[in-house]
């Protein structure tokens, strides 16, 4: 068990709380930096996807996990980012400009979607965002002069100040850098007054507004920031895939993005990264396991069953996701042999309808 004695105010705002964290995150950083030298091209490609989905997951975590606003329409923001990037690149803009524009434009769309969120709660918000997703998907399909319709839109490799990032290694470093930057940005945001306001809104809107938090302003801000991060993820996604079309941004995609948050562990930034890794690695694991099974079992069906079962299993047995499980294991070792089963017990409540007075 580690006790941190704080003797200095600086210790409160330090990024790492103690030497152990410096060591382990440093080790992780070194491993990630040397990864392209060691792993095969295929694994590197999966690492690209994990980084991209981690950025999207961080964006969604901010909205769902920290502000408590449910969105089933994040594929629309992903699409906004991806198409902005594709169009600006075709127009000859440098990457930095197009990436920032993708983030800003997605944020603008996020604000528009956030407006109904001021009036809607819970499941109604989920349905509104999901309707929005369907509409955006249809607009992309029909607006052929700009988006290329169902035939899609191709992208070239990224070009930063004349430096072409055509190789998988250079693209990996770009994705990694953006993931780390997003993490740092969110860590700092969440311990600022803004971040505290988000958490307060999640825990109780009534008490948050009693504490003087402007609900409308902070909810819209959360939507905008979340959409901006998702837009950055979308721009990278477009470059990774090299070809974007409306079928990549359906409601199913949105639901999978939400499962990043749920499986990773709602309310933790680690969870977003864990969830992204899980979402990318699961299909790989299943296609491996497929070799052991009879041929009659189809890959898509098996994947959907396993995915569904894991989702259900996590919610019933481990509501704080992969990160929650990790936290429990760590606590078990920390306090060994005094871990008690009730340490992390959830509180149940009787359901009281909010529909009737």
């Amino acid at each position: 068990m580690r006790f941190i004695f704080k003797t200095d105010y600086d210790q409160d705002i330090r990024l790492f709380q103690h030497g152990g964290q410096v060591f382990w995150y440093g080790l992780l950083g070194v491993l990630l930096l040397i990864a392209p030298l060691v792993v095969s091209g295929y694994v590197l490609s999966q690492l690209h996807f994990i980084c991209i989905y981690a950025i999207v997951g961080l964006g969604l975590m901010l909205l769902v996990g920290y502000t408590g606003q449910i969105s089933l329409g994040h594929a629309a923001f992903l699409a906004t980012g991806a198409y902005t990037e594709a169009l600006l690149q075709a127009a000859g803009m440098p990457f930095i400009v197009s990436l920032v524009s993708a983030a800003l434009f997605s944020a603008a769309v996020g604000i528009i979607v956030g407006l109904p969120a001021l009036r809607l709660k819970g499941i109604y918000l989920a349905i509104a965002t999901f309707a929005f997703n369907v509409i955006v998907e249809e607009i992309i399909t029909r607006w052929e002069s700009v988006t290329g319709g169902s035939s899609g839109k191709p992208l070239r490799a990224i070009d930063i100040f004349g430096l072409r990032l055509a190789s998988p290694e250079s693209f990996y470093y770009l994705c990694l850098a953006l993931t780390v930057l997003s993490c740092l940005a969110l860590i700092n945001l969440l311990r600022s007054p803004t971040g505290r306001a988000f958490v307060a809104i999640r825990d109780s809107e009534v008490s948050a507004s009693c504490m003087g938090i402007n609900l409308a302003r902070y909810k819209t801000m959360s939507f905008a920031l979340s959409a901006a991060l998702t837009g950055i993820g979308g721009a990278l996604y477009a470059h990774k895939v090299g070809f974007i079309s409306p079928e990549q941004f359906t409601l199913i995609q949105s639901i999978e993005l939400v499962t990043i948050v749920i499986i990773g562990g709602a309310g933790s930034l680690h969870g977003a990264v864990f969830g992204a890794a899980f979402l990318i690695l699961l299909p790989q694991g299943i296609s491996r396991a497929k070799d052991w099974l009879p041929d009659a079992v189809p890959q898509t069906g098996l994947q959907s069953v396993v995915f569904g079962l894991i989702l259900i299993g996590f919610i019933i047995f481990e509501p704080y996701g992969i990160y929650g499980r990790w936290l429990k294991i760590r606590t078990w070792f920390d306090v060994f042999p005094f871990y008690r089963r009730g340490t992390f017990r959830r509180q149940r409540s009787y359901l009281r309808s909010e529909r009737l007075r």
Binding site: T300, F307, R348, L351, L356
Partner: protein
């Protein structure tokens, strides 16, 4: 001109009845457990597959097939409640919603693995044949008429059930306040289980009625997503609202598909729902919601 309008409206009503049946399932579960069941469309798909098995593969008559599918699906619904929903009773709404999304994934996957079902597309034969009726210049197929009539009959039965049956009243009480229902001696968990069974049975009914128009395949459940707008337009917690909402969405969709440019048919429902959510967040028949501290 008028006959064309009437024609489209009739087709819209027939389609809207199917939406209404799925939306009814949403509303039943929402009223009882304050949960939105994202697997409702997939329950409908499973019901259609059971109906198909009974009528095409076992050669049973149409009515027997409907009965078979409804009974089997009621059991499936209760099983789902018992296994996955009850352990999370009393947890935040979105938790339970994610569970139903998981259930949807599992059902879609399982159907593709069942021998004889798989990923193929099937047609379900109905005893109505090609009979058509002519009404003021518009044509109404017997299948569509049957869909409308059966939906109306089902709604009447549900209305009577909720209004007069002891169990129906108990279900209403549970939906308003679980704790108070417990105090009144209502076995809340068992009532929830029965509601899930009822919703799944209604879904099976909808699936079989939809089958002649849309074919039976493992992804037909996605039509359930059109039923969300129906439920929201009607006001999520209201049984008559679900029916009216379903009809509105069906008619709007049919008219938009004909009079508006291409692409509006699939989005009309969602445009309507966004408009309703912005202007009238509680829907047409919705109850007022004001949270007290």
């Amino acid at each position: 001109m008028f006959s064309q309008f009437l024609q489209l409206t009739l087709a819209g009503i027939a389609q809207g009845c199917v939406y209404a049946l799925v939306a009814l399932g949403f509303v039943l579960i929402y009223k009882a457990t304050e949960t939105v069941n994202f697997a409702q469309g997939d329950l409908m798909m499973l019901g259609a597959f059971f109906g198909l098995t009974a009528s095409a593969m076992l050669g049973w008559p149409y009515w027997a097939a409907i009965l078979f599918a409804v009974i089997v699906m009621a059991a499936v619904g209760m099983l789902i409640e018992r296994i996955v929903i009850r352990p999370v009773l009393g947890y935040p709404t979105f938790t339970v919603v994610m569970i139903t999304i998981g259930v949807g994934y599992v059902l879609r996957g399982v159907v593709t693995m069942v021998p004889g079902w798989g990923t193929e597309t099937y047609a379900l034969k109905t005893p109505f044949g090609d009979t058509v009726f002519h009404i003021a210049g518009a044509v109404l197929a017997a299948e569509q008429l049957a869909t409308i009539a059966l939906t109306a009959a089902l709604c009447f039965v549900l209305y009577v059930f909720f209004r007069f049956a002891r169990l129906g009243v108990a279900m209403q009480a549970t939906s308003q306040n679980q704790l108070a229902a417990y105090y009144m001696g209502i076995p809340v968990q068992r009532v929830n289980m029965l509601i899930w069974g009822l919703a799944a049975a209604v879904a099976a009914f909808g699936g079989i009625l939809l089958a002649p128009a849309a074919f039976v395949h493992s992804n037909m459940g996605f039509i359930g997503l059109k039923a969300f707008p129906a439920a929201v337009v009607g006001g999520f917690g209201s049984v008559p609202g679900a029916v009216v909402g379903g009809l509105i969405i069906g008619i709007v969709e049919a008219l938009a598909g004909f009079y508006l440019p291409e692409g509006f048919k699939d989005t009309a429902a969602y445009v309507v729902v966004l408009a309703v959510l912005l202007l009238m967040p509680s829907g047409i028949f919705g109850e007022t919601a004001r949270k007290k501290v």
